[in-house]
């Protein structure tokens, strides 16, 4: 059997809107992936600890509060500090186009904004794994 892709789906920060994260989690499941869902209101430190213990291939974060410029780069930085260089880090949510270049520079490899189809996310993950 082919080994399943493991994905951590996390909601950093304080917003309580997890419908999007759940839709993503469900469609990744249907694409044959193992999705570890960590629930709401996670600190970057908690997300990184979970990603390491679960040894995931992908860290996928969803945010709708507007704090993405603070929280996403923090997760990428903490992972680097732990010596993790083989996890694909992606993010999604209501994120203005103007913020995307900064986020990509900070180590978030792709940003998915409203209107993205779940198929696009699945294809992106499958084509960009780092191990």
């Amino acid at each position: 059997m082919e080994r399943p892709i493991r994905v951590l789906v996390a909601k950093p920060g304080l917003d309580g809107h997890d419908r999007g994260a759940k839709v993503i989690a469900r469609s990744l499941r249907d694409a044959g992936m193992e999705v570890i869902y960590t629930g709401l209101r996670q600190t970057p430190e908690q997300i990184v600890a979970a990603a390491i213990q679960e040894d995931v291939d992908v860290v996928a974060m969803s945010i709708l509060s507007g704090a993405h410029n603070h929280l996403f780069p923090k997760v990428a930085k903490l992972l680097r500090e732990e010596g993790v260089d083989d996890m694909l880090i992606i993010g999604g949510g209501v994120i203005p186009d103007g913020d995307i270049p900064f986020l990509k520079e900070s180590g978030i490899e792709e940003i998915f904004t409203p209107g993205t189809s779940t198929t696009q996310v699945i294809e992106y993950i499958k084509n960009n794994l780092k191990r």
């Binding site: 059997m1 908690q46 979970a50 213990q53 040894d55």
Partner: protein, 311 residues
């Protein structure tokens, strides 16, 4: 990353990577376990099982916090079902254990069942060894939510904690065979919601009828979400462990489990050996067509496949 050294030093990344390798049937991982096997055997393994939604994860979270007060190192393996159709899974037990993520003395790993039906995954056996080498004093194995007959946990745990909830069924459910027979400790969770006394009575009446009376499983009413009676569950688990140690039953269980594990490994390897050969020659496809056209019966088809390795 040197996995072997890292694991002996108790590094979480090494621990996590080795479990991944075992899940993917990596021979390198098995070689590491072979080498480090003498470092296992210290941890006390508690199986946490019970119906879906009974509060296994929440109770495991609370029990772990209680053990952390005594500075015990804890490993948790939380299993959720893999889809038989897509191979995908939602592993959601960590949601109930958020505060434990950052605790240096706790390691949590979620696993999908990946085709196993007994409430656990094949790699669970290996993952326990990894956590044992990692240095866990206690290992909790949280099974998938079980129905009536997923009892593989009994083949792996030293003590089985059955998490029940009130008002699920009547006294007939309590006397059925299967999961009700494997508990060493019953926790009736959500006891604050009412109905727990009746559930306790039904379990007690069932236990009264046990013929083997050397150990009577204890029953604790508990509310994991309200953090009530968690210490009592710990106390009952310790009592059972003491009983196992003092009566020699621990050694009996370990021996029985070792036998079962070897049998399972042989079965798996034999099965792979046979089926790989059968698949190579497209035998399964051909035979199944012959079976439905009534050219051959399933028993003779089996004989044909076994001939592959009897030669």
């Amino acid at each position: 990353m040197n996995i072997e050294e890292g694991l002996l030093k108790g590094e979480k990344r090494a621990c996590a990577r080795l479990i991944t390798m075992l899940e993917n049937n990596d021979q390198g991982a098995i070689d590491i376990i072979k080498k480090l096997y003498k470092h296992t055997g210290r941890a006390y393994v508690i199986g946490v099982t019970g119906p879906p939604g009974s509060g296994k994860s929440t109770l495991t979270d609370r029990l772990t916090k209680e053990l952390r007060k005594k500075n015990k190192k804890v490993g948790i393996i939380a299993i959720d079902p893999t889809s038989p159709f897509t191979g995908g899974a939602i592993l959601g037990d960590r949601i109930r254990m958020k505060d434990l993520s950052l605790d240096k003395g706790v390691f949590i790993r979620s696993m999908g069942t990946r085709g196993s039906l007994g409430g656990m995954s094949k790699a669970t056996w290996g993952a326990i060894k990894v956590l044992d080498i990692y240095g866990a004093d206690y290992i909790f194995i949280e099974t998938v939510g079980v129905g009536q007959s997923e009892i593989d946990i009994v083949k792996i745990a030293h003590t089985v904690l059955m998490v029940m909830v009130p008002n699920l069924g009547d006294d007939i459910q309590a006397i059925k065979a299967g999961i009700m027979e494997i508990a060493d400790v019953f926790a009736i969770n959500k006891a604050d919601l009412g109905g727990a006394n009746k559930t306790q009575l039904e379990i007690e009446m069932n236990l009264d009828l046990n013929e083997k009376k050397d150990y009577r499983p204890s029953i604790v009413q508990v509310s994991a979400s309200k953090n009530e009676n968690i210490d009592k569950v710990i106390k009952k688990l310790s009592e059972h462990r003491k009983y196992l140690d003092e009566t020699g039953e621990m050694i009996e269980r370990r021996k029985r489990n070792a036998k079962l594990e070897v049998i399972r490994l042989v079965e798996e390897e034999l099965m792979d050996l046979i089926m790989n050969k059968a698949l190579e020659e497209d035998m399964l496809e051909i035979l199944s067509e012959q079976i439905i056209s009534r050219d051959i019966d399933p028993y003779s088809a089996k004989d044909n496949i076994l001939k592959l390795i009897k030669k």
